[in-house]
């Protein structure tokens, strides 16, 4: 199991790195291209940059959840005994899974509809928007996976809810 998680983590890491870098490079290309090759039709760089950024965002958001690092209000938590915190953390994971499951369904609907309506961007590339939209259901599937793993870990006691706060 640990091996699988490590592989998933590595894949996610490199996907985030690649998508973010592509976004940055394209944004710079658009800026420089305007001065070096003014005639070049680069009206599509902006939307591809957005596409890459949203993919990186959803993968990174899911990965952060796997580490239990999402921001929460801990004003009350710090006064609670470890066992109670653990159960509350599992409860939070389950709520998160329910939310992710709904948004997976919702995002999938959006992808389907964009496919059916053949929705496209306004640039000369006329990119299909389902490529952009697909980031939501896939990101949510990944999020649910991470939350499931984390609740199992909390349940078995292999991680503690306050691990994060103490690590940093």
């Amino acid at each position: 199991m640990a091996r699988v998680l490590a592989i998933v983590d590595a894949i996610e890491f490199w996907l985030i790195a690649i998508f973010s870098s592509v976004a940055l490079l394209l944004a710079c290309l658009a800026m420089i291209g305007r001065y070096i090759v003014p005639g070049l039709l680069l009206d599509w760089t902006f939307e591809v940059t957005i596409f890459a950024t949203i993919w990186a965002t959803f993968i990174a958001g899911a990965r952060v959840a796997g580490m239990g690092e999402h921001v929460r209000v801990d004003t009350l938590l710090v006064h609670l005994p470890g066992r109670v915190r653990c159960w509350l953390a599992i409860f939070a994971c389950l709520l998160g899974i329910a939310t992710a499951a709904f948004l997976f369904w919702s995002g999938w609907t959006v992808v389907e509809e964009a496919f059916r309506w053949d929705e496209r961007t306004t640039s000369s590339l006329r990119l299909p928007l389902w490529i952009y939209y697909l980031s939501l259901p896939l990101g949510m599937a990944l999020l649910a996976f991470h939350l499931l793993v984390r609740s199992a870990q909390l349940f078995s006691g292999s991680v503690r809810d306050d691990d994060v706060a103490q690590n940093h």
């Binding site: 890491f13 490199w14 985030i16 790195a17 973010s20 870098s21 976004a23 940055l24 944004a27 710079c28 658009a30 800026m31 902006f46 940059t49 957005i50 950024t53 949203i54 990186a56 965002t57 959803f58 993968i59 990174a60 958001g61 952060v64 959840a65 690092e69 999402h70 921001v71 929460r72 209000v73 801990d74 004003t75 009350l76 938590l77 710090v78 915190r85 509350l88 953390a89 409860f91 939070a92 709520l95 998160g96 329910a98 939310t99 709904f102 948004l103 369904w105 919702s106 995002g107 609907t109 959006v110 509809e113 952009y132 939209y133 980031s135 939501l136 259901p137 994060v164 706060a165 940093h168």
Partner: protein, 430 residues
């Protein structure tokens, strides 16, 4: 409707209190409310995707990645050393430098979240390293980050301009003096507090030391200079400035300070993206909740309540300030503008209140909204960046929050703070 509000608020506060991550609380609650309101399944996902498909949000990860390069690549260190050589003699020296840096950064981007994410990455570690207490460092940075939307450029002012038919350059000029005023207020707070917050006077290095620190910092100084020059020289748009700052910071770190190894680049990029993603998920949840409020017409009703009562100019402005504070507890910038401004405009005209003046009142209200619980984005950002408990950020922000409230009152009473500069440069508005 009343039942929905009571149940919704109870769920919001209850779930937040037991430590459910904020993005889950906001998104989950909004989904339930939207479905109850008759929203479609696809429409909810679409809302999230559409909100994220924007140039403003795009700039945020770029700025944060740039901040990562600046912090990890020796640029921040050399700049802080330079500042320290000049003003490290004073207990308030380093926080003052941090405040100044935040003001400068605010001049190259128009978002509060981008500012506080980048500055949280940059100046907080330096302040902690020099012995300042964590709540103070976090609170100062969370509050100073709001300058991002007051000092031009400012995205909320652009949206205000579009909705109210006011010229954006005029609004930007209007934000400048209040922005400087806010910095002055914060400077006073820092001077009053620094000594008790771990600020220590350091021995003066001598002028030779100052000169050397300056020389070492020269390449680092090129980063803000190139980006500022790029924007104000008309070479790049505000959106592009984010990418430019990342590129310049990377180049300077790699070629001048050589403290950043090429193999470390992916780490910096992924960390920057992860921080942004954690916040973007919260923003997505907050947007969904705002969408529900728009559909239910709640904010509109609240604003209507005030706009229909017969008030004098000042009474009206203070009532609206109250409305902004209340809405600001759960709503963020654009939603506040879109939900209240169209209703308010006719009253402004009837009472003879300058739209430019009201713009600044509104933007300060939005700044405060970034700091008020339960949904205060800047507080979340600081907790995310520093991995510190949320409660510490909240505690540290209070003195600065009070200073901003006092400034708000001043700005409400004295329209000239907002209108003098734009009227001077562009002539009085017609």
């Amino acid at each position: 409707m009343t039942t929905q509000i009571i149940l919704g608020s109870a769920a919001l506060f209850g779930l937040l209190a037991v430590g459910v991550p904020i993005y889950v609380v906001l998104a989950g609650l909004a989904i339930v409310l939207l479905i109850a309101e008759g929203g479609s399944v696809g429409g909810i996902g679409q809302d999230i995707l559409d909100h994220m498909n924007s140039a403003t949000l795009l700039a945020i990860p770029f700025f944060v990645i740039a901040a990562g390069f600046i912090q990890g690549g020796g640029i921040a260190r050399s700049l802080i050393n330079m500042a320290s050589a000049w003003i490290g003699r004073f207990p308030s020296g380093i926080p003052m430098a941090a405040l100044l840096a935040t003001g400068l950064f605010s001049a190259i981007n128009g978002s509060s979240v981008a500012t506080v994410l980048a500055m949280g990455t940059l100046v907080v570690p330096e302040m902690l390293e020099r012995g300042y207490k964590r709540p103070f460092a976090l609170g100062l940075t969370a509050a100073a980050g709001t300058l991002g939307i007051l000092i031009p450029p400012s995205m909320p002012l652009v949206v205000y301009g579009l909705v109210s038919e006011t010229s954006v350059p005029r609004l930007f000029l209007a934000g400048l003096l209040p922005g400087l005023l806010q910095m002055a207020c914060f400077a006073v707070v820092i001077m009053l507090m620094a000594r008790r917050q771990g600020g220590e006077a350091r021995a003066f290095l001598g002028w030779r030391g100052v000169a050397r620190a300056n020389v070492v910092a020269l390449p680092a100084l090129s980063v803000p200079l190139i980006v500022l020059g790029g924007i104000y020289g008309g070479f790049v748009t505000v959106t592009e400035a984010a990418a430019l700052s990342a590129a310049v910071a990377l180049a300077v770190s790699l070629f001048f300070y050589k403290s950043l190894r090429v193999t470390a680049i992916p780490n910096v990029v992924v960390q920057g993206m992860s921080r942004t993603a954690a916040i973007l998920l919260i923003i997505a949840g907050a947007d969904l909740l705002a969408d529900w409020l728009a559909r239910a017409g709640l904010a509109t009703q609240l604003a209507m309540l005030v706009t229909q009562s017969e008030l004098t100019q000042t009474q009206f402005l203070f009532m609206m300030a109250g409305v902004l504070l209340v809405l600001g507890t759960v709503l963020e910038g654009y939603s506040i503008i879109l939900l209240t401004l169209p209703l308010t405009l006719p009253i402004l005209d009837a009472l003879g209140i300058d739209r430019v003046h009201y713009a600044i009142i509104m933007v300060i209200g939005i700044e405060l909204a970034m700091l008020t619980p339960p949904v205060g984005l800047n507080l979340f950002v600081m907790a995310e960046v520093s991995k510190a408990p949320f409660s510490e950020v909240e505690r540290g922000m209070i003195p600065f929050f009070i200073a901003m409230l006092l400034m708000w009152v001043l700005v409400i009473f004295v329209p000239e703070i907002s209108t003098w500069l734009p009227d001077l440069v562009l002539g009085a508005a017609r």
